[in-house]
């Protein structure tokens, strides 16, 4: 059964803050093979204008995917069949890079629901701000539920 279009525009309550750790950034950078010093060395990051080590561009997936998953994918009323879900598209729009020490709160909204070729496609928008209200990044994720529409 196709997903309910009336969910488009629905926002979920803001998440608990995610504290960005210096070691988590280093771990994530190493996993991708990134050796550039701005991801590892606070002094090197300061030298190019950042208060602490900065995160690689795709780092926000860690907490934005977790929150959109917990809120949208596991919304029992919406009823997505996760066993059929693949990641279709991903996009980030940045005000600035995430950096160590950020405490980030994510607000998830259902941006779009559409059907194509028998698949349901749902796009979530995750707006990320610091606990002080500074806007940092928005992540758009499109999940495809194969053969459910």
């Amino acid at each position: 059964m196709p997903l309910d279009q009336s969910f488009v525009g629905r926002s979920y309550p803001p998440t608990e803050p995610y504290l960005v750790g210096r070691e988590k950034i280093r771990e994530f950078a190493r996993a991708i093979g990134l050796t550039e010093r701005e991801y590892h060395d606070p002094e090197a990051a300061r030298a190019i204008g950042y208060a602490d080590v900065i995160a690689p561009p795709t780092f926000p997936i860690i907490f934005t995917m977790a929150s959109s998953h917990a809120q949208i994918v596991e919304d029992p009323v919406l009823g997505i069949d996760y066993s059929r879900v693949v990641h279709g598209e991903q996009r980030f729009v940045y005000a600035r890079p995430v950096r160590a020490g950020d405490e980030l709160v994510t607000t998830v909204t259902v941006e779009n629901i559409r059907q194509a070729a028998g698949n349901d496609m749902i796009t979530s928008r995750s707006d990320v701000r610091t606990t002080d209200g500074e806007y940092v990044v928005t992540a758009y994720s499109t999940l495809v539920a194969r053969g459910t529409a």
């Binding site: 988590k24 996993a31 900065i54 795709t58 990641h87």
Partner: protein, 140 residues
């Protein structure tokens, strides 16, 4: 020498790069990203859902592809927007070599606001694995 807005022109090609993705890479990325979907490490499970073998995390491919851009521009914080479509999976065989991800980038737009758009291609072998892969970058 990093590119400047003045010097960069539409059509400029970025230095291409190849990144190996082995099974060990996937295990490491799973732990770092907290994405433990078994299609990325369990061959039996991957085949049971119709995949040819274990596949790489799309987000790992996305992370590697933008390295061509951040290496070129010098400051990862210059990336203003970055998006991709995951058009085909990167299949990662259980051998020492794994998959080879080859990335190219070309400047396809230069905007009045001081940014340029880089369009990326990503191939694993002959397969094109990303579509609509574009990064918008602020240059000085």
């Amino acid at each position: 020498m990093n590119p400047t807005y003045e010097d960069v022109q539409v059509g400029d090609e970025l230095p291409p790069a190849t990144f190996p993705i082995a099974r060990a890479t996937l295990v490491r990325y799973a732990g770092a990203s907290l994405d433990f979907n078994p299609i990325h490490w369990n061959e039996r499970f991957a085949r049971s859902v119709g995949l040819p073998d274990v596949i790489a995390h799309g987000m790992l491919t996305m992370a590697e592809a933008v390295r061509v851009v951040t290496d070129w521009v010098g400051d990862p914080g210059a990336v203003r927007e970055y998006g991709v479509r995951f058009s085909r999976p990167v299949v990662v065989p259980d051998d020492d070599a794994g998959a080879q991800l080859t990335i190219t980038g070309k400047v396809t737009d230069k905007r009045a606001d001081g940014t340029v758009v880089v369009t990326l291609t990503a191939h694993s072998g002959e397969e094109k694995v990303l579509g609509l892969a574009r990064a918008t970058v602020a240059l000085r």
